[in-house]
């Protein structure tokens, strides 16, 4: 196995909330989509393009705007692919949000590669332990600043930057939650274990308040069996669609 890149991020926030963890995971997925060549443009750009396009299409249907025929063709194939990514990611984010609100998520894993057993790259994100599910939600501002901190430490990491470029492939998202917790949508994969192939990166997120706590109250090993991996049933397929063609839409 190639040596693992370890990144530790200290958020310096006093409280941990599930909504913050959720924001961090989503931020991480967005970052990986663009930085690991799965999308030709940053995800927020894609969102903007698709939303603009939808408005335009609504206008077209209503017969308000004339559209030149030439650009229709590019709209058909490339735009459809981009839109598929957009829909899948939105669906995933939606369920991640719901998931974090309903249960404690210990860690998450994002795999890039065709199957869960043969990934090219794996990203393991370990979240700080929230004391209980219903800790007061952090405000959006706090979440965003935490997310920015995480992304900054990812971007500024030398080793992570030296990962070889990869071609568009599938992105699989796994989360680790308790066996008894009420997880919907995500599928339990009791036989899944983190693969040892490809390049690997471990991101540990901690906060000032929990960093001391963690050392004391780290869950004892016999409960390991209680933690199951769950797989998101959507697979996000990267697209190579040229930057010009998508952004020219």
């Amino acid at each position: 196995m190639a040596n693992e890149v370890e990144i530790e991020v200290n958020l310096n926030e006093s409280g941990v909330s599930q909504s913050m963890n959720s924001r961090l995971l989503r931020g991480c997925i967005e970052y990986l989509l663009y930085q690991r060549q799965q999308l030709p443009i940053p995800y927020h750009e894609l969102v903007r393009i698709v939303e603009d396009q939808e408005k335009l299409c609504d206008g077209l249907e209503a017969g308000l705007i004339e559209r030149p025929l030439a650009s229709r063709r590019s709209l058909n194939t490339e735009y459809k692919k981009a839109k598929k990514v957009y829909e899948d990611v939105e669906c995933l984010f939606d369920h991640i949000n719901k998931l974090f609100l309903s249960t404690i998520v210990k860690s998450a894993m994002v795999l890039l590669g065709s199957t869960p057993v043969s990934p090219k790259e794996r990203y393991f994100v370990k979240f700080p332990v929230a004391k209980e599910v219903n800790t007061a939600d952090s405000s959006a501002r706090v979440c965003n600043s935490a997310c920015r901190k995480l992304i900054r430490s990812l971007i500024s990491n030398q080793e992570l930057g030296s990962f070889k470029d990869i071609s568009p492939t599938s992105m699989l998202v796994f989360i680790q939650a308790n066996r008894s917790s009420d997880v919907e949508w995500f599928r339990p994969k009791p036989t899944f274990k983190p693969p040892h192939r490809g390049q690997s990166c471990k991101i540990t997120v901690s906060t000032t308040s929990c960093s001391e706590q963690l050392a004391v109250s780290d869950p004892p090993d016999h409960s390991m069996d209680e933690w199951l991996w769950f797989q998101a049933p959507v697979i996000i397929r990267g697209t190579k669609t040229g930057q010009e063609s998508v952004s020219s839409l």
Partner: protein, 426 residues
């Protein structure tokens, strides 16, 4: 009578038969396998006797309803010839698994070369293929036993220099007889049966044609690369890896004929690379190579020699054809296309009744007659005949069984007619 009883007690005890129970766990269930096994065992002890292969999908136990999709007592005919199986006196091997519904993923060697399809087993795609395959000889039992012996030998550390086995199975025979399906089903079956040992199975279906490069002398290297990928999968000791090479003659074309000059020497290199790679991976206990071919004459002798099992899969016999039709009609009744539901007797029941024609058996005997007439058609053709019969002669949303049987009969005649016409064209 008592004496007979005493006599049977005096006989040496037979080892208890082992029945395999396959339990499909719900995809969303997080229950532990051990707990499910206990519940299933209780449930089966209560049922006690089954006739032939039986699948249960409804349970009185609330736990089973919540967590289990189906419980299947399967391959009973491979265990004992007796139709009635009493589960109380037997050993039950209960296998609990969840189906992977991801579908195939493509493995790429270089940019844009999709060299192989890759499934995680047990897969939703292959569920039920094993049961749908009907053969006259005990091919299925043979293949399973072969795999079990292979495993046992590897486990006990039998020196492979003294007793040698290659982990290669070659199935050959005319097209449409179910060779490829059998390979896929076998991989699925093994991953279920061995789920205690290997946490998951994988099936890699190699696209033979994609291993030939447009660059001269590169093809051999592509084969090497492909096997390197496979090697990486084998390195995970927890995984059972089945490699399927369909139409293997395209990768192992006889080198002798290639030498005579019709083939570029690149093809020879591919064969050489494949042979050495097979020799290389046979050392690993968790791999099985499944191959199929239509044209055995074109396969290199060195490859044929490496295959441990060279099984001929021929066109189905009358009894097998009858079973195939029987399963088709059952399926159409389930879907409500043939209604009202009428019972068709199995071939064994007909034998017991000595093929006497009466009200209860006349439809079954008519089906047997159609089966006799269909002899010589391949399994693939047989499975589509009910479909063609509906398309050509029926076209209503439901039909009674007698009407369907006559449509079936006409369609079989038409098949043979079409075949004649194709021959006459030449």
């Amino acid at each position: 009578m008592d004496q007979v009883h005493d006599l049977s007690e005096a006989l040496p005890l037979q080892p208890p038969l082992t029945y395999h129970i396959e339990v499909v766990q719900n995809p969303c269930s997080t229950a532990r396998q051990g707990v499910i096994k206990e519940h299933v065992r209780k449930f089966l002890m209560y049922e006690a006797t089954v006739y032939g292969d039986t699948t249960f999908t409804e349970f009185t136990d609330g736990f089973l309803t919540e967590h289990v999709k189906s419980v299947c007592v399967c391959d009973t005919e491979l265990v004992s010839k007796d139709r009635q199986s009493n589960l109380k006196n037997c050993k039950l091997a209960i296998h609990v698994f969840q189906l992977h519904d991801d579908g195939p993923a493509t493995e790429e060697l270089e940019e844009d070369i999709a060299a192989a399809n890759h499934w995680l087993l047990p897969s939703d795609d292959f569920h039920g293929i094993w049961e749908s395959l009907i053969f006259d000889t005990d091919v299925k039992a043979q293949l399973i036993n072969y795999a079990m012996t292979t495993l046992l030998f590897s486990d006990r550390g039998v020196n492979s220099n003294i007793i040698s086995w290659n982990r290669v199975i070659l199935l050959h025979g005319p097209p449409g007889t179910g060779k490829t399906s059998l390979c896929k089903a076998l991989a699925q079956k093994l991953s279920i049966r061995l789920s205690d040992r290997y946490s998951y199975g994988q099936l890699i279906e190699i696209n033979s044609h994609s291993l030939f490069s447009k660059w001269f002398s590169e093809s051999g290297k592509l084969v090497m690369k492909m096997f390197q990928k496979i090697q990486e999968l084998i390195d995970d000791k927890d995984a059972l890896v089945c490699v399927l090479i369909d139409e293997v003659e395209s990768l192992t074309a006889a080198r002798k004929s290639a030498m005579q000059g019709q083939e570029p020497s690149d093809a020879i290199r591919v064969v050489n690379a494949l042979l050495t790679q097979i020799d290389h991976i046979k050392r690993f206990p968790n791999v099985i190579i499944l191959t199929t071919s239509n044209v055995t004459g074109a396969i290199d002798l060195a490859f044929v020699d490496r295959a441990d099992i060279k099984q001929y899969i021929g066109p189905p016999s009358v009894n097998a054809i009858f079973s195939i039709y029987h399963s088709c009609i059952t399926e159409l009744m389930r879907a409500g296309i043939i209604s009202p539901v009428q019972q068709i007797l199995g071939i064994r029941d007909l034998e017991v009744l000595r093929f006497v024609n009466n009200d209860a058996t006349n439809l079954s005997l008519e089906l047997l007659e159609i089966a006799r007439k269909s002899h010589g058609l391949s399994g693939r053709t047989l499975r589509k005949i009910p479909f063609l019969a509906h398309a050509r002669h029926i076209q209503t949303s439901s039909i009674a069984l007698p009407g369907f049987l006559s449509a079936l009969s006409w369609t079989v005649d038409k098949q043979f007619e079409d075949r004649e016409n194709l021959k006459n064209d030449d």
